[in-house]
Amino acid sequence: MGWKHRHLLGIQPLSREDIWYLLHKANFFRDSLEEKPKKEGQLNGFFMINLFFEPSTRTRISFEMAAKLLGMEVINFTTEMSSILKGENLRDTVRTLSRLKADVLVIRHSSSGVPQYLSQFLPFHIINAGDGMREHPTQALLDLLTIWRHFGRLSNLKVAIIGDILHSRVARSLTIGLQKMGSEVFFSGAPTLVPPEAEKMGGQIIYPLEKAIQGVDVIYLLRIQQERQKAGFFSSIKEYNHFFSLRKDLWEKAKGQAIIMHPGPVNRGVEVDSELVEGTGSLIEEQVTCGLAVRMAVLDTLIQEGKAGD
């Protein structure tokens, strides 16, 4: 069983075996990150372009670091400095980039489906670093790696995803991934942000929040963006925090063996009490390091083995 995909467009196209393949490799890289020097040179001479149409620091830097650890050259392209601002359309921008003969294009865009669209006509490996509200596959993979390393398994776990499910590509990718690995997903939060359709993906909506986190292994909190309040999805940060955040008292009641995860960046005191972020139950910082390892594994796999069509 080898690797069959030319791109990483989402978790949806991956099989359970594909996910295990990436996770095993990522697990090896995660261990190697504790060694000095960390840098491995196997992708020496390959070029990666970071093409970010949405502001991002963490993901972009994580990809850049991952590429460099493998010996790659990295070019960062953000919309602030691009011809997009001069009115060039997306198709022309990326076609021009394609003539630069890079090997990997890492793309983030606010429109769902952009990576799939580009993969139809661009010659290089495309890695989806987040498209609109659809998928964020490297985030889901790093979450799976973090969970696997903590629990020693990815099946028969209960994961409660709390918050803005509606707008979250993280929630979609993670839900798909967890189900492929044989775990259960629960959703909760403000009902305006937890669409009933989410259950069609296989998760289960549970209200109130207290009940949703009872007895779970992972409490996965999503970032709540201020724009959602302005758009009328909930009334105020104060009310959101009172009813829909992981407060210390809820955590004390729910915790058992549970861990807290969050894709970052965290709004302290909004979706989670500040002191829980760095508390003993939190794996939020470990997620960041696992992210680096996962992106190394993805780059290594696509470049070394991603020859076939997707």
Binding site: A190, P191, T192, Y207, P208, G232, F233, F234, S235, S236, K238, E239, H242, F243
Partner: protein
């Protein structure tokens, strides 16, 4: 006085069992403890209810008590007195005060002031939108924690459909129902009265039924797709009844009608002037007939006042400048008896059900709304036979803005018992 009351020889109205039963009823420590024939309790204060109807305390989903901000029209104290005199033991006060009840602190004030006054349970409705401006949701959860029982932008309808759609879904989490005033103000700019022959004749700007009904249709569609608990208040048109009937086959929507929409038509604006200026406006005879049919069929399962007191100086102006509203809390029951029981539309049991059990169910007040052993002793006793004329100047309410002055009516409340204490006897308040 002892804390026990024995109501002897009354006719008990049992809306849950759809029965009238001649029996005694014993109250002890604020609860109904026994119902049966020939109860004796020498310790108890004995109340002879021979010839009277004894039923669960009346519950009113729609009153305006004007506090804070417009205390010259009404305040919580005078409003509570009017409620007790009208036989009501629970009222829901609308949030269109100055400032509007969009803040948990105001809700807490109303709940604590209500307890202090001790004449009626005043339950606050909270605003759907901040400042009733139709722009952003209020803190539904925090409002509920301070005693808000329902949400309403009464006096207006929420214009932005998406906002209401999200509010409907958001409120589900807190199990808060909506009491909706339905009016598309786009269709009635500066409207003064029902758009029809009379408005044309008198030269008053119209408020077309289309404005009310298009909003009813929209809101019921939104409720259908969101699962919100929705109650349409002060229904006034024939099409409104049909719309609700259609939706009731699909979702549990409820509705109420006020006494004035059952007794007066737009033509009576000529006679009563600004005293008959009310929103929704008085409609036409065909609307009254449709409303009565809806009441008989149970499509309209609740009756309410929309008690809207104003000072006379506010009403004694030209028609366009006058505020909307009728003060009717003390005569709501006799007016409904006249329009519904005496007209043979429904019987006493059904009338009482729409004034106690059904609103209690809507508000999920499980310990109220019926006469059963163990329930809170909120009880209203009514004299069904004696006729009295409406005397507006004797209203406890500050609002004397009432077109029913001098009307001879039957079905007056003669005792109001709140939590086992007599608060009104023979029209007089006991403090």
């Amino acid at each position: 006085m002892t804390d026990s009351i024995l109501i002897k020889k009354g006719t008990l109205v049992l809306p849950g069992r759809k029965e009238l039963v001649d029996a005694d009823l014993l109250i002890r420590e604020g609860k109904i403890v026994r119902i049966g024939r020939g109860i004796e309790d020498p310790q108890a204060y004995s109340l002879n209810a021979s010839g009277l109807l004894v039923g669960p305390g009346l519950i009113n989903l729609h009153v305006h008590f004007r506090e804070p901000g417009e205390e010259k029209k009404e305040d919580l104290f005078t409003g509570a007195r009017a409620a007790a005199r009208g036989g009501f033991t629970t009222v829901v006060c609308m949030p269109n005060t100055c400032p509007p009840l969009d803040n948990p602190l105001f809700a807490r004030y109303i709940v604590s002031r209500s307890a202090e006054i001790g004449l009626v349970n005043i339950l606050p409705a909270g605003a759907i939108t901040v400042g009733l401006k139709g722009e952003t949701m209020t803190n539904f959860g925090l409002l509920k924690e301070e005693g808000v029982v329902a949400l309403s932008d009464d006096g207006k309808s929420v214009g932005k459909s998406r906002l209401l759609y999200l509010a409907f879904r958001y409120a589900n989490y807190f199990d808060l129902p909506f009491i909706l005033h339905e009016e598309d103000e786009n269709l009635s700019p500066a409207g003064e009265m029902h758009e029809g022959v009379t408005s044309f004749e008198m030269g008053y700007r119209g408020i077309p039924p289309a404005g009310e009904n298009s909003r009813i249709a929209r809101d019921l569609v939104l409720a259908l797709y969101t699962g919100a608990r929705v109650h349409l208040t002060h229904l006034s048109t024939d099409l409104g009844v049909d719309l609700i009937r259609w939706f009731q086959a699909r979702i549990p929507v409820s509705a109420d009608v006020t006494p004035h929409h059952l007794l007066l038509t737009d033509q009576q604006v000529k006679q009563f002037g600004t005293l008959a200026k009310v929103n929704p406006p008085l409609r036409e005879e065909k609307d009254i007939q449709a409303l009565k049919l809806g009441i008989r069929e149970g499509v309209i399962n609740i009756l309410a006042s929309d008690h809207a007191p104003h000072s006379l100086e506010d009403k004694e102006v030209d028609f366009a400048s006058a505020p909307f509203g009728i003060s009717n809390l003390e005569i709501t029951l006799p007016l409904l008896v006249k329009s519904l029981v005496e007209e043979g539309v429904i019987d006493w049991i059904s009338l009482w059900e729409k004034l106690s059990l059904n609103p209690a169910r809507f508000l999920k007040l499980t310990d109220r709304g019926s006469l059963e052993e163990g329930k809170v002793a909120d009880i209203t006793i009514v004299d069904p036979d004696t006729e009295w004329e409406v005397e507006v100047n004797q209203f406890e309410s500050k609002g004397k803005n009432c077109p029913f002055q001098g009307w001879p009516l039957r079905g007056w409340p003669v005792y109001t018992i709140l939590g086992g204490k007599v608060v009104m006897q023979e029209g007089s308040l006991i403090s």
